[in-house]
Symmetry: C2
Subunit: 213 residues, 2 copies
Amino acid sequence: MNKVQATEKPRQRAPSKRALATRARVFDAAEKVFADRGFDGATIRMIATEAGEPVGTIHHHGGGKDVLFQQTVARRAATLSQARLEALARLEAPATMAAVLEAFIRPFFDLALQDPRWRNYARLVAFVSVDGRWRDLSAECFDPTAEVFLAEIKRLAPHATPQQTAEGFVFTVAAMLALLTSQGRISDLAGSSQAQAAQIDHLVAFCAAGFVA
Amino acid sequence: MNKVQATEKPRQRAPSKRALATRARVFDAAEKVFADRGFDGATIRMIATEAGEPVGTIHHHGGGKDVLFQQTVARRAATLSQARLEALARLEAPATMAAVLEAFIRPFFDLALQDPRWRNYARLVAFVSVDGRWRDLSAECFDPTAEVFLAEIKRLAPHATPQQTAEGFVFTVAAMLALLTSQGRISDLAGSSQAQAAQIDHLVAFCAAGFVA
DNA sequence: GTCTATATGTAGATAGAC
DNA sequence: GTCTATCTACATATAGAC
C-alpha cells in the first residue's frame, strides 16, 4: 500500500475526510451564530466555541470574517435552488398558481423540518434580506431562481403588470421567511400550537389568492 | 443626614430648547445608523458623526448603547399606534377586510412618504423583527395594537381558526415591511418604476384576498 | 491541517474641564 | 449641557510551532 499523495504535491491536494468534517463543523457553527446574532453581532470566537475548534481554524477555513459569512450564505443556496427548480419541473403541464408557488416554498420547509441546520440557514437568510449591505450577495444567491419563477408566474397571470407580479413575489418571499423563522411566534398570537404542515398550505393559499387579486 | 436628599435630583428641570433639539438630533442619527447597520454594526462614533455631536453627548442622551437602541425603537411606536387606531376608528360601521388592513398599513406609509426619518424607522423595525434578541422590545412596542387589529380581523372572518388569522396577520406585517423597506428592489425585479401609491393598494388587495382564502 | 500566542486596531464607556 | 481625553476590554487577523 503505497501512499501516493504523501509525496506528490499537485496544485491542490484533495482534503482529508478529517479536514472536510472540520470544515463542515466550522460552517455549521458559523451558520448558527450568524443566524443568532447577525454579521456584526457574531464573533469569530463565538463561532470557534460553537464549533469546538480553536480560533485560528475558523480563519483557516473561512478566510476572514466576511468571506466566511458570504460562503456560509452561498453554501446552501445551490442546494435550495436545485430543489426548487426540480419541484417546478415536476409539475404537470397545466400548472396552477398555487402549484408554482408551492414549488418555490415547500422545498425550503421540507429541508428545514428535517434538519435544524436548515432552520438556522433560514434565519440567516432573513438577516441577509434585511441588511442592505448584503444586497449583492443576496442577488447572486437567489435572483437567478427567482427570475425563473417570476417568469412562470407572469405566464399564469398575463393580465397583471410586471410591477404587480414583482410585488406579489416580494410579498410571498417575505411571508415565507416570516413563517420559516417564526418559531412559535404565530402560535403565541393564536394561543395554541398547530402542525407546521397546515401552515405551509395556508401560506400557499394566502399568496395564491393575493396573486389572483 | 440631608446629604442624601441634597445630592438627589430634586426633580428634573425642564430641558432647554437647545437641549431638546440636540436630543432629537441624537435620536434621528441613531435611527439612521441603526437602520443602516443594525445594532451591532452601528457604533456610537458613527452616530456621533451623523448627529454632528461629540461622542460623550450620545452617551449623555442615550444612556448606553442598548438603552439608546431601545428608546430609538420605542420613540416612534406610540405615534404609529395612535395613527393606526385612529384610522381604524374612522372606518364606518360595516368595515371590510381590506379597509381594516388598510387602516393598519397605510398610516406607516403616509408617515414614511412625507418624512425620510420614518423611512429609516421602517428599516430599523425590519432589523428588530429579524433579530430574536429584540423580541421583548418588539412585543412591548407593537403587540398591543396588533391585538386590537387581530380581534377586528377575527370578527370579519369568523370562519377562520385563530391560527389562520394569526398566520395571515404575520404574513401581512412581513409583506408590509418588505414593501416599506424595498427601496426600489421591486422596481428592479419588474424592470421599471411605479408610484408607491399603487403599490400600497396592491399590498392591501393581496393581503385581503389572502385572508378571504 | 491544527492550534497558540500575539500584534494591532477600535469598540463602549467615563471622568472631569468648560 | 457640552465636549475632550483616556481607560479598559475585546475584536480581527496573523505568524509560526507542532
